[in-house]
Amino acid sequence: MTAIRLFVPRDAGALAVGAERVAQALHAGAARRGAPVEIVRTGSRGLYWLEPMIEVATDTERIAYGPVSADDVEPLLDAGMLSGAPHPLRLGRPEALPFLSRQTRLTFARCGIVDPLSPQDYGGHGGWRGLERAIAMAPADIVEAVVQSGLRGRGGAGFPTGVKWRTALQAPGAQKYIVCNADEGDSGTFADRMIMEGDPFVLIEGMTIAGIAVGATKGYVYIRSEYPQAIAVIRAAIDAARHAGYIGTRVTDSPHAFDLEVRVGAGAYVCGEETALLESIEGRRGQVRAKPPLPAHRGLFASPTVINNVLSLAAVPFILAEGAAAYAAHGFGKSRGTMPIQLAGNVKYGGLFEAGFGLSLGELVDDIGGGTASGRPVRAVQVGGPLGAYFPRRLFDTPFDYEAFAARDGLIGHGGIVVFDDTVDMARQARFAMEFCAIESCGKCTPCRIGSTRGAEVIDRIMRGEGDRAAHLALITDLCETLKFGSLCALGGFTPYPVMSAIRHFPEDFGMPQAVSSGTPR
């Protein structure tokens, strides 16, 4: 009798809500019944309100159940879950769930489906084909394919990935490096974590292609220490890829050499800034470097270096396998391809939603996200992490792309959307933005190091109602200008986004007259 295959996520978000106990209960329950089962530990499909979401492979399809607690396992087994039988927790085919069926999953095509530690399973689901094609191409042609795809850096800055690669390819250097920025510190974002835990080979394949394209033989994955599960999976996946010959001295028996090493962060948010990250790998304080020189000219250990975000590198295998045009066919305006959007915070249907650019903020928050988890009206959403702007409901028609958000004094950053209900105090949120900048400032430039502390103090005075409110607000505005234009990197430079957007869109929380129709529930 062949074993029935069960799929239980080992994604940190699923573990956080009890997936490990569910796996144990399934194992024990099946054993008691004498039912042979194979429990595959996958990543998450990204429907976190349904986690732990487990799946069983029937003869024809996979059937999902969720959210399953350990206590639900016995009743589920009694009901015949192993053959996909009905039960109140039965969700049916996961792909048919509206949250998934509305998505365009290119980067996340395999996440939650495959065994993250099996290079064979990855290959069986379309993996390694991009690498195969890249090996048969001239390096400059690989770079051109990435340029033509229109892929822009998914870390936040949105700089064209192919242009970075071209610069590194043309830079002279005996040793070059590929660095993956997996220091995903923005609150409200978890796409890097999900892909690392759920489909690590797509990142390994993307980095290997990058290495072949620019002539780099060594890559580093810099993962934040707050992600212990992702660190463990990537390390194990690197070992498995090396063992299977996909990386190492001869990449899939080609003349190319490429190997990978994981470096772990140490709790500094600013190390998500690329030059601070390079300093950190080199063993120093994570202080931002002045640019130029660009990392592509003089990066890690003073060598030409491509440094890309996890999602940028993870998009590369699809581009090489399916062609640049297939990737560029998705998207909106100058924002090509898909964006893994993360719905987070006080949201009913939180999770990972990968789609072409161009959906409106309102569609994402209200239709796809289902409004708040608390059931109260949505008052504000912060888009793009702690350095992103707060948007009120009246700007919910903003399409999700780089330029549209920039035009409204915001940014999409790494694609995180944090939803707040009407109990939020926007003055507190503005104060937190300043406080966070003060905590995380690397200290190199004065506006960020000192301005952030002074900013928090001034907002404190506004909140306590001390002194002249208009003068305080003028001071904050002036300080934000200084931060924006006088800081070396995005930490100081973008902290004004949450602060000024809170003041502009929610002045009533700062004791000023209310903005027109802001915060009005629909």
Partner: protein, 159 residues
């Protein structure tokens, strides 16, 4: 959790020697030392500086820069409570007040019974199952006051 080992210069020397040849070895060495001993004592800073041909100030500068590195021994468990925006939107600030009151300590401190060291963290990537914490590297999400209280009781009973 087995808990940290007591400080041992011999053990530290072996940990340092195993990584001295790596490029940019400072952070991996400090992380391995903290993983073993729970914190970075002064003696370790001197040893790392010697091994990597750095000044004591340079190594101290690295230790003091990164939030992860600790200068004091830790309790039996380390609880990292997320204080970032996604968790704030789900009531993390109330949980922060609750945990500090229950343990009668502030951020970075260890409870008097040595059961728990409490640290703030800014995002665990558990933003769709907020509010969240990390207990000895194990993620816990969808917290509320009751669940947090039960978790703290369990920790204190076990130590």
């Amino acid at each position: 959790m087995s808990g940290p080992e007591p400080w041992s210069p011999e053990r530290a020397a072996a940990i340092i020697a195993a990584r001295t040849g790596d490029a940019g070895a400072t952070l991996p060495i400090l992380q391995a030392l903290q993983e073993t001993f729970g914190y970075i004592p002064d003696a370790a800073i001197l040893m790392v500086a010697d091994a990597l041909n750095l000044t004591r100030a340079e190594v101290y500068g690295v230790v003091s820069f990164y939030h992860d590195f600790r200068r004091q021994p830790i309790g039996h468990h380390v609880l990292k409570l997320c204080r970032a925006e996604a968790c704030q939107s789900m009531g993390a600030e109330a949980l922060a007040a609750q945990v500090q009151a229950a343990l009668q300590i502030g951020w970075g401190d260890t409870s008097a019974d040595c059961a728990v060291t409490l640290e703030p963290v800014y995002c665990l990537g558990l933003c769709a199952t907020a509010p969240a914490l990390l207990l000895d590297d194990q993620p816990v999400g969808r917290l509320n006051g009751g669940r947090l209280a039960a978790l703290l009781d369990e920790l204190r009973a076990g130590s």
